[in-house]
Subunit: 422 residues, 2 copies
């Protein structure tokens, strides 16, 4: 099935906003085994919209249109859809009632221009939007089925997942059930993981498991898209493959599906009724910022100390001044211990960075001194990352959180990663 | 002049990466007074590329193509450009020599497949890429001039600004010089600023100054695009308008052009040989993370204390435990003072947040208690922001940094903003 996406709106066309809706939609469709063949972006312009709809109608089987469903005069999707399909706009009573309800519930008067949002092409199938006043709709233009969706990201997401994708799958004749399994890892590059996982798809010989990746440094997402006749069939096919992925990537898998690294760390600490103190230097609060604001972190995260010069840890944590002039294993272990004792926590993580001197450049590096302290023991890791200030900073944040995750899960804290140079 | 953008590549089409190149290009063209009329996204697919080039050639005056200039087999831009233009690919000796040079300078052997990057359509004008192995090129297809640019963002940026935009401006017959002036503000919404600035464009009656906005919460960027015969002419036209913008937005302008809020704060503190201590609660290190890693911050930023429960400030800063159980002006002022004294800094900023109870929701709010302490005085600000956990957190980070900026610049720290509810 040939699918196109048309994104509309001056804000997107002029680059005022980055078009994350496009990548979101395309990714979601890929995840269920549907491929987008063509993407078009046009502004709030009658001529361009009409041309875009006609071109897509002539070459695609299905088209997802995003945006232009609002109440203002520059929201033109319904009008141009009707024109392209050669039909009239008619009032959709069902949606009008829903909108009036929407405003009544919020003790507001429905603005008159909102009525426009209930005017749909006469041949359209209305698509519900439970969280907004812009309903979606589907209709045929030429040989293609068009699906119109709202531009507000959270409204789009809900409508795409709950309403549009099932309709697209039904049209594509794909098996009823498609499931996406995701593994998040840190420390192995995409090509390395690709080679580690060579052949896992063939564990299910009928080709119904597809392997893919999405790299966003410092993490990598490994994806398995599984097709089956129903969820039981999907789970049966997925089981041996996910087992094999877990075995091959081992300790590097830090989370699965909707879990996050910081969420896993929080869950592990919560489980053991632990509490956490942090010490950071050049990461400058970014480790705390990943963790400290999470719901539930108020019971676990106790205190973070952020300095640029380790010498300040003399005042902040009472470490002997002289020992802070040059970082080494003893110093960073003492820092983690002192942070733990001062904040009366079960765990403390210290990530101290010796950044190379000089202006930022692609081969500027940093040495990361990392220690995790508990009452009984201290774990230590030293690493060197190259790639410029920002790269070092991002890498150190991830390494700090991931080492803590490994420690809490009883895995080795020190295991060589692809991004380090030592 | 009708301009189109064509983005190529499977990674962009499938949503594996968000297409920031499109918004970047579109924005840059807008900034010099050129408008993009149509955007197309296609994958690394011969048929789709050829169709996209032909469609654009039939309706546009100029087309910027991004991506597909690499050395691998799925980089097809040169090949399909030649096909669409009906010409042969020929070796560009000049670029081949440059590439060999590129590798020699880096003590590397040029991989054989790289040679492909010097094969250009015979009628193409080569466009230099001083920082990569993918040269750009321009050629006519149909009635349109096509400009081919590399997908690597930093290579694209340099080529677009230095090579493509001047050529587009020359073709469009626009005045030789176009200049973009930018003002960054925090606290006023886009429509508010729009109404405050009503009529400023008319201070230059010939229409050569254009006002625009780019909102990225919590900041707003106000843009003046000025056209002139040369830079003197531009400056002459800009002078009265920028004076008026500065007057009307007043204390809300936190930075101009490439400056950032955190950069301005750092510059002010550096100028007065100041030093900074920070205390944060629910922002969880995000204020420190905006500031502490900047080049030069090592001389200014001394210590940040991050807690979730203010009670922890008893241990961390020696504040009386009982006083921390309920936030008020006295407490937050005492916290800022204690942080300043403990870290021996000239300035301290404390941002403590009382977050509403319960699950995240659109009307969940937070009360922000903010104090700035110096040796001689303490400034205080209290504010309430609604909009969910993330909105409160982002708003509090910005408010903290902006109040510090105001204090350092001798402006009132307390001035009502559009985003607060008190």
């Amino acid at each position: 099935m040939r699918i196109e996406i048309i994104c509309t709106g001056d804000e997107v066309l002029t680059g005022k906003i980055v078009n994350t809706n496009f990548s979101y939609m395309s990714q979601k469709l890929e995840d269920v085994g549907l491929s987008v063949y063509w993407g078009t972006t046009v502004g709030d312009d009658r001529e361009a919209l009409l041309q875009a709809f006609k071109l897509a109608a002539g070459r695609a089987d299905a088209v997802v249109v995003n945006g232009g469903l609002g109440p203002t005069v520059d929201d033109l999707s319904q009008e141009i859809a009707a024109q392209a399909a050669g039909v009239e706009l008619v009032l959709n009573e069902e949606w009008l009632v829903k909108m009036e309800d929407f405003f009544t519930k919020r003790s507001r008067i429905m603005p008159p221009n909102t009525r426009k949002q209930a005017m749909l092409p006469s041949t359209a199938e209305m698509i519900d939007n439970p969280i907004g006043t812009a309903c979606g709709f589907a209709l045929d233009i030429g040989k293609a089925r068009f699906f119109f969706t709202p531009g507000v990201p959270r409204e789009l997401r809900r409508m795409l997942e709950q309403q549009v994708i099932p309709r697209l799958l039904a049209r594509s004749g794909s098996p009823a059930t498609i499931h996406l399994k995701r593994f998040h890892s840190y420390g192995l590059g995409e090509s390395h993981v690709d080679s580690l996982l060579a052949g896992v798809e063939e564990l299910v010989p009928d080709g119904s498991v597809k392997l893919g990746f999405r790299a966003h440094y410092p993490q990598l997402e490994t994806k398995l898209t599984v097709r089956g006749s129903d969820m039981d069939d999907v789970q049966r096919k997925l089981a041996p493959v996910q087992e094999e992925v877990r075995k091959r990537l081992g300790n590097f898998i830090l989370a699965e599906d909707d879990q996050t690294l910081e969420g896993v760390v929080l869950a592990e600490l919560t489980k053991c009724q632990g509490s956490l103190a942090l010490v950071e230097t050049f990461t400058s609060g970014q480790i705390a910022a990943r963790f400290g604001h999470l719901p539930g972190a108020e019971h676990v995260f106790r205190c973070g100390t952020v300095v640029r010069d380790p010498i300040e840890l003399h005042t902040a944590l009472g470490i002997e001044r002289l020992s802070l002039t040059e970082l080494n294993q003893d110093v960073v272990e003492a820092v983690a211990n002192a942070a733990r004792i001062r904040a009366r926590t079960t765990h403390a993580l210290a990530v101290l960075i010796d950044l190379d001197e000089g202006a930022d450049r692609i081969d500027l590096g940093g040495t990361i001194w990392l220690a995790i302290a508990t009452e009984g023991e201290v774990e230590f890791r030293r690493s060197r990352i190259l790639g410029g200030r920002e790269w070092v900073r991002l890498g150190a944040v991830e390494m700090g959180l991931d080492c803590l995750r490994r420690y809490l899960q009883g895995l080795p804290v020190v295991e060589r990663i692809d991004f380090e140079k030592t």
